[in-house]
């Protein structure tokens, strides 16, 4: 299978399309449940906007994906199936872009523009830096 040119979403050469998809489905399903369970368990006890929890999830998932993708690229220590399971699978399913935008929009609809803008700014900056921190961990 050809590499897609999008590192974190590409199954590494060697995996067949179907096996790659199976691993991504398994990882993506587990990642989505982990995200939903994290949100549900935290917001049972606290009342702050879910946007900040989504940001924390994106931060963790971005750092883990950055670490694993760089490790696979530099050291080749991650096979194609574990890569598919963990990077586009688990990390892709655990983090979310649509919920991040949806939660921001909901806050704006409720008139909480300040909170939404702070949340978007922090979410974008920290979420993007997370991938860099994860990959730099491997480089050092």
């Amino acid at each position: 299978m050809k590499s897609s040119g999008v590192p974190s979403d590409a199954v590494q050469p060697g995996a067949t399309l179907w096996l790659g998809c199976l691993m991504i489905a398994l990882g993506g399903g587990i990642g989505s449940v982990a995200r939903a369970a994290t949100l549900a368990s935290i917001h049972e006890h606290v009342a702050y906007p879910p946007l900040f929890t989504v940001t924390g999830i994106n931060l963790l998932g971005g750092a883990l994906a950055g670490f694993l993708a760089e490790r696979a690229r530099r050291k080749g220590r991650l096979g194609s199936w574990p890569f598919a399971l963990l990077v586009p699978g688990f990390c892709g399913g655990f983090t979310t872009f649509s919920s991040f935008a949806g939660q921001s929009s909901r806050l704006m609809d409720q008139g909480n523009w300040d909170t939404a803008l702070y949340g978007i700014g922090a979410g974008v900056l920290l979420g993007l830096l997370a991938g860099r921190v994860g990959s730099m961990w491997v480089r050092t």
């Binding site: 299978m1 050809k2 897609s4 040119g5 999008v6 590192p7 974190s8 979403d9 590409a10 199954v11 399309l17 790659g20 998809c21 991504i24 489905a25 398994l26 990882g27 993506g28 399903g29 587990i30 990642g31 989505s32 449940v33 995200r35 939903a36 369970a37 549900a40 994106n58 971005g62 994906a65 950055g66 993708a69 990077v87 586009p88 699978g89 990390c91 892709g92 399913g93 655990f94 983090t95 979310t96 872009f97 649509s98 919920s99 991040f100 935008a101 949806g102 921001s104 929009s105 909901r106 704006m108 978007i120 974008v124 979420g127 993007l128 997370a130 991938g131 860099r132 994860g134 990959s135």
Partner: protein
């Protein structure tokens, strides 16, 4: 989270993650050096879809015969949460930046973020129109 909500979130997340991978593989080859556009397409279309689904749910409607709450777990949390990905955006930005393609890294980061909220609002507007049309259609 009950076993049923975990199962439908898992199913939605698995399907969404595979869909993301297939869209990326399909489009990345067409864009060549600008393969990052494939991920932008995924994240922006996911935002349109979540705006539509959430508007539909807010009107007290469900999809495929499901209750609004189950529709949210299946489609918003599972399918669209798994379809869109922040970790892929984070890792790709880091990779482009490291390769010295810094303007591309900035554009690929800022484009989906700038379009995220308008995409949610577009989806919500279409959802509102569909809800109104549906209400007119079923009214005696």
């Amino acid at each position: 989270m009950s076993l049923i909500t975990m199962s439908i979130t898992f199913g939605g997340g698995a399907v969404g993650s595979v869909l993301r991978h297939l869209v990326v593989v399909l489009f990345a080859g067409r864009f060549g050096r600008h393969a990052w556009v494939a991920l932008a397409i995924v994240n922006i279309t996911g935002c349109v879809a979540i705006g539509l689904v959430e508007r539909w749910i807010t009107a007290g409607e469900g999809l495929l015969g499901m209750s609004p709450q189950f529709t949210r777990w299946t489609f918003s949390t599972g399918l669209l949460g798994g379809y869109t990905s922040f970790s892929a955006l984070s890792v790709l930005s880091d990779r482009l930046w490291t390769e010295g393609r810094r303007w591309t890294a900035v554009v690929q980061t800022m484009l989906p973020i700038a379009l995220a909220l308008p995409a949610v609002w577009l989806g919500a507007a279409v959802g509102g129109w569909l809800v109104a049309s549906f209400a007119k259609g079923v009214a005696p």
